[in-house]
């Protein structure tokens, strides 16, 4: 089993709902809290598992704004795990989730340097590295209604731009979306084989207009012939 996220760039409006829902769930979750520094001051910052990048492609007026949520990709070949000197970072064989044992982590930052996706964040107060857990304490929690056993980001996403599932199962919602929409992983050349995938913006066919009456652009009111229609 290879659990992960598939993110639809066609519908992601960049609203940060996923990031905030994640923050909210995980600040009281297994690697709690997600510390905030200077929350009411000059340089507010903090630990987030999911951040949205916004960038533009193309020149005006043919430009497009892309919203790009990024979190741990739960790579198949997770270099962050390989480099961890204490064994705190590990990849679960049963579902592929990459986690950090907070009791073993010494905050050395090796893993964050190894991660090309910027997914790992050091909690400066706990001195440990934290990152997306795929809400491992939600997805298996049988006290939750089955439809809520999903990562908080997926539950929240108002544009349904986030899908959660088993990328090993060809019939999962995530695998189907990748197949049907040309989903891709980031930086495949690194061979980390990320589990998470992105769906590119759709291109939609143009709408035909040649089937409409041509008429004359200079048409005048008197040319219309009234139609007899009962009110």
């Amino acid at each position: 089993m290879r659990l992960g996220l598939v993110i639809d760039l066609d519908t992601c409006v960049g609203c940060h709902a996923c990031a905030t829902a994640c923050k909210e769930w995980n600040t009281s979750s297994i690697t709690a809290p997600l510390t905030d520094y200077d929350p009411y001051g000059k340089e507010p910052s903090g630990v987030w598992f999911n951040r949205i990048r916004h960038y533009e492609i193309g020149d005006y007026p043919n430009n497009k704004t892309i919203n790009f949520p990024m979190s741990c990709m739960h790579c198949e070949n997770a270099e962050c795990v390989t480099v961890c000197p204490t064994g705190a970072s590990y990849k679960r064989p049963e579902d592929g989730i990459v986690l950090i044992d907070q009791d073993k982590c010494m905050g050395c930052n090796y893993c964050s340097w190894a991660c090309p996706y910027g997914a790992r964040e050091l909690d400066r107060v706990s001195g440990t590295m934290k990152k997306c857990t795929l809400c491992v304490d939600r997805i298996y929690d049988e006290t939750l209604p089955e439809e809520e056993r999903q990562p908080a980001c997926v539950l929240a996403c108002p544009a349904h731009a986030r899908l959660f599932g088993d990328l090993d199962d060809p019939e999962s919602v995530t695998s189907r979306a990748v197949r049907e929409r040309g989903g891709y992983a980031l930086m495949p050349e690194l061979n980390y084989t990320p589990t998470n995938h992105y769906l590119p913006p759709r291109t939609r066919p143009s709408i035909p207009t040649s089937d409409l009456p041509r008429g004359s652009l200079a048409r005048k009111v008197k040319e219309w012939v009234n139609r007899v229609i009962e009110r």
Partner: protein, 948 residues
């Protein structure tokens, strides 16, 4: 199965359902609570609005609950200190309410209008309005006058419903969605859910907006329009549709006033009015009878086009003839429209044709038997799956009423009104066009008003003016300056009150409106006005009461501060009598109830209002023996009936809770709402879900439910006779009140056009465009709702400083680069801000995010917070008055029809600041902390698993 421990002791957990208040969408929330602390706020899957999802604001509710800006007790300006010095003393509720009661009782016994009560982002306007009405003051309104009244009024004077709260695209069926002037809000989750549905179905989404942010980011086509020119674009598309005969004949004849005849006697009384028979019925020309007939008669066959002579020799033309003559004019040809709106002619034409294709070639049908208003049976509804939504970018211009009407014209010609796939109404809408109910005019001591303070004028007789034509309201709503100001002009209240124009007030009360900062135009001057004293040494606004949950900039200027609770700590009714949350297929309302115990000396404002109502012995709140009638807000909501069986909450009525919409009070109504996850929905039967303006079943249902007074069909008004009556008054051709001042006459004659047209926004007519080459507008970031959320410890990590955004190529041509500090100057003043160059910005436009800039020390933020040192408000540049013109009194910078604040009419110039000139300007003195203010932690480690 995972070996990971679940991070909670489920025994201590409680799950409760309520309604979000992080913005105005009012989504359903499921809240997990541990030890009186919020563990998790998520969307309620069963809720009709958000169906389980939740936006960034909603999820950040935890940090609103933790905000150090929360007010903690009633405060009084310290005796002997200056207003706005920020020195307060804590007082008890008893003291606060005694003080207010004494003052208000005195005002009510003498001149109730001396109490001005204006409420901001209020979700209980039906109660605050009732209070004002019972008090007897005309001076009440909510924030719609500076938000979106143009959009609401345009809809209500055309369709009987409007965008957002009164209507929605048919997200399950629409194939083409055109979004006009919507940044990223209003509405939030429903829009995102809908856009995803549309796109996954292969539908097209067109975003018309000068900025490509938010929803525009995922638009299939972005149309970068020049601000304030939407009417030209819409009417040019109307031109294209008319020129190719691409309009829905049946729809226009059956459901609109297009076939009605209009009298054409220019320069004479009665010109432009509907030709009527003696009984007042509108007349049409019958093609079979070849004569004039009652145009409302179901059996007639009215001509859509034509010109006739009446027996008394007057010329009459059908509305559709006038409409076609107007919009087929070359002025609206795409190549001419393109010069104004900046959209290429080929694009204008293509967009119009694309919509026509979808409307007429991709028609859908819903097979349901239904009966029309005349009793005729039909076996299906025809759907023309084109839908639209518009909001502030259209609304906040002084030509916004006509622009919004122009957008509705497109929809009407395409026949996409309340049909499958089109733009659908939400209960209690549609209402008759225009809505019934006139604004109250008379105020008398110790007497309730005889009508709502806000209403819908249809003729000059309905204006709220005295015999001399002078305004009777402090905001001058319903005066010649803003005749159909359906939401009031809250943005004018401080200016008018300080100038005693039309009269001074004694007590001004603001609820949840940051009128000393981001909700006002001309911020710095407004702050000075709040401090201004008369020759007698008294403040010109003698007593300022501010009700809010947080330490806003306006709280800083209060004489009395009444602290409200958060939305997780109180009862609320989100009522159909107020701002409805219905869906097109269901009548809905909802509640909030206290999920958390209070930890400070604050009270819900609605509780306070009900108590004040009892103390002041306002009739509705008082028993015959003079004792208070209600034990509190909850009791009031349960038992108050507007008319028999109709109360604030429509669900679970009747003694046993078995009745919906109408029924006697149910003592257990709140409990039933709480059991039902905080909301009520009544699903409309399938045969009354469409074409409701002419659907017999719906009209009868709506009458029974109290939405309509009678089941008459609602006629869509392409041509607005009400508007024409005001124009006649301006032309001196009206049998009734007419304005005496030339400026009023001109405004009425020019802008009260019974058919929508484009005119250049008023301020822009008086500003040198070469001197001020840029349009300047505000957008709202998706993750923030006003200052409420830009204070939020999580959300401000996403953005704590707003930049001025400019088109990259345009900026580079001016020698500007990213992160430059620049001066932005308007006719009203200048500010220094930091620049960002982007592609997603129309070339002649600069824009920023609103409500991020703050006054240092407010909102629980520390001095030095970037919101105060780098963030800024565009508001300083915007005047609440039009630039002065010799010989003319000062006129509000608002739509001349509705009084909508014209925030977005601003023009500016942008120049690079000198070396060394850095940081935002102007800056304002740091506001000292309030007594007992909560500490602002340096590090926040919110975690419900750890002890608080």
């Amino acid at each position: 199965m995972s070996a990971v421990q679940h991070g909670h002791d489920q025994g201590k957990q409680e799950i409760k359902y309520s309604t979000c208040y992080m913005c105005a969408c009012r989504c359903g929330i499921k809240v997990t609570i541990e030890d009186n602390r919020v563990r998790f706020i998520q969307g309620n899957r069963n809720h009709p609005i958000n169906k389980g999802v939740l936006c960034a604001k909603g999820s950040a509710g935890i940090m609103k609950q933790c905000s150090p800006a929360r007010l903690r007790s009633p405060l009084m300006r310290k005796p002997g200190t200056e207003r706005g010095a920020g020195e307060f003393i804590e007082i008890s509720w008893e003291q606060a309410l005694d003080m207010l009661t004494e003052r208000l009782a005195r005002i009510r016994a003498t001149d109730p209008n001396k109490f001005a009560f204006f409420t901001g982002r209020d979700q209980m306007q039906a109660l605050s309005r009732l209070f004002a009405e019972q008090f007897g003051t005309l001076n009440w309104s909510a924030h719609g006058g500076f938000c979106s009244v143009n959009m609401a009024a345009a809809g209500l004077y055309t369709l009987g419903y409007a965008f957002w709260e009164f209507g929605d695209p048919d997200w399950d069926r629409t194939k083409y969605f055109m979004l006009w002037g919507v940044a990223e809000d209003h509405n939030s989750n429903p829009m995102k859910i809908g856009i995803e549905k549309l796109k996954s179905r292969g539908g097209k989404f067109v975003g018309i907006n000068p900025a490509r942010t938010g929803y525009q980011a995922v638009a299939d086509e972005w149309v970068p329009i020049r601000p304030g020119t939407d009417a030209v674009l819409a009417l040019s598309m109307v031109h294209v549709l008319l020129s190719r005969e691409l309009f829905d004949w049946d729809f226009l004849i059956r459901y609109t006033n297009a076939p009605f005849l209009v009298v054409q006697t220019p320069g004479q009384k009665g010109d432009g009015l509907i030709y009527r028979d003696e009984a007042g019925h509108p007349l049409a020309w019958d093609l079979k009878k070849e004569g004039f007939v009652n145009g409302l008669d179901a059996a007639c066959h009215p001509a859509l086009f034509g010109e006739h002579k009446t027996p008394d020799g007057r010329t009459v033309k059908t509305v559709m003839t006038l409409l076609a003559e107007r919009y087929l004019d070359d002025r609206f040809a795409p190549e001419n429209a393109a010069k104004i709106c900046g959209i290429p002619a080929s694009t204008i034409e293509r967009l119009a044709l694309e919509m026509a294709h979808v409307a007429f070639k991709e028609t859908i049908e819903v097979a349901v038997e239904w009966t029309d208003w005349a009793g005729r049976k039909h076996d299906k509804f025809i759907g023309r799956p084109v839908s639209m939504h518009a909001m502030r970018g259209v609304s906040a211009h002084s030509n916004g009423f006509q622009a919004a009407r122009a957008i509705h014209f497109l929809q009407i010609l395409l026949g996409t009104i309340d049909c499958p796939g089109g733009f659908r109404a939400k209960a209690p809408y549609p209402r008759p066009v225009p809505s019934p109910g006139k604004p109250a005019k008379r105020s008398a001591p110790n007497t309730p008003l005889d009508a709502h303070p806000l209403g819908f004028p249809t003729a000059p007789e309905d204006l709220v003016i005295d015999e001399d034509g002078q305004p009777l309201r402090i905001d001058k709503a319903y005066s010649w300056e803003a005749p159909i100001a359906n939401h009031g002009l809250m943005h004018m209240v401080i200016t008018n009150a300080v100038k005693a124009d039309p009269y001074p007030v004694d007590t001004l009360l603001f609820f949840m409106a940051n009128m000393a900062w981001n909700s006002t135009m001309n911020t710095a001057n407004i702050q000075d006005m709040l401090r201004e004293r008369g020759p007698d040494g008294e403040y010109k606004i003698p007593f300022l009461v501010v009700v809010d949950a947080f330490h806003s900039e306006t709280v800083h200027f209060a004489d009395l501060v009444l602290p409200d609770t958060t939305y997780l700590e109180r009862y609320d009714a989100i009522s159909l009598l107020d701002r409805p949350i219905s869906e097109p297929d269901a009548v809905c309302d909802s509640i909030r109830h206290p999920l958390l115990a209070l930890d400070r000396d604050v009270r819900p404002w609605q509780e306070v209002l009900v108590e004040l109502g009892g103390r002041l012995k306002l009739p509705v709140f008082t028993n015959p023996d003079g004792t208070p009638k209600y034990k509190g807000y909850k009791d009031f909501i349960t038992y108050y009936e507007r008319e028999p069986g109709i109360g604030f909450l429509a669900g679970y009525r009747g003694a046993d809770g078995s009745k919906s919409l109408r029924g006697e009070p149910n003592p257990q109504q709140w409990e039933r709402y709480i059991e039902n996850q905080g909301f009520f929905q009544y699903h409309l039967p399938k045969d009354i879900r469409y074409l409701r303006f002419a659907n017999k079943g719906y009209l009868e249902f709506a009458t029974e439910a109290g939405f309509l007074k009678s089941p008459e069909p609602i006629v869509i008004e392409l041509y607005s006779e009400a508007i024409q009556k005001f124009r006649l008054a301006g032309l001196g051709l009206y049998d009734g009140p007419m304005p005496k001042e030339r400026v009023d006459q001109e405004r009425l004659a020019t802008y009260f056009d019974p058919l929508p047209d484009y005119y250049e926004p008023l301020e822009q007519q008086r500003v040198d465009k070469n001197e001020y080459p840029f349009f300047a507008v505000n957008q709202r970031p998706m993750m923030m709702y006003h200052s409420w959320d830009s204070q939020n410890a999580w959300l401000r990590q996403i953005i704590a400083q707003n930049h001025l955004y400019m088109n990259r190529a345009r900026g580079e041509s001016l020698g500007l680069k990213d992160e430059d500090w620049v001066w932005v100057e308007s006719h009203n003043g200048k500010i220094r801000v930091q620049l960002r160059l982007i592609e997603g910005c129309q070339e002649d436009t600069v824009w920023t995010w609103n409500a991020i800039g703050k006054q240092s020390g407010t909102w629980g933020l520390k001095p030095g917070a970037p919101e105060a040192t780098q963030g800024f408000l565009m508001n300083h540049l915007i005047s609440e008055l039009l630039p002065e013109k010799p010989g003319e009194r000062r006129i509000t910078n608002s739509d001349p029809i509705t009084g909508q604040a014209a925030w977005y009419d601003l023009r500016v110039k942008v120049t690079r600041a000198a070396p060394g000139e850095e940081g935002v300007w102007p800056t304002f003195a740091n506001v000292p902390p309030l007594p007992g203010a909560e500490p602002k932690p340096d590090v926040l480690r919110y975690n419900t698993r750890a002890k608080a």
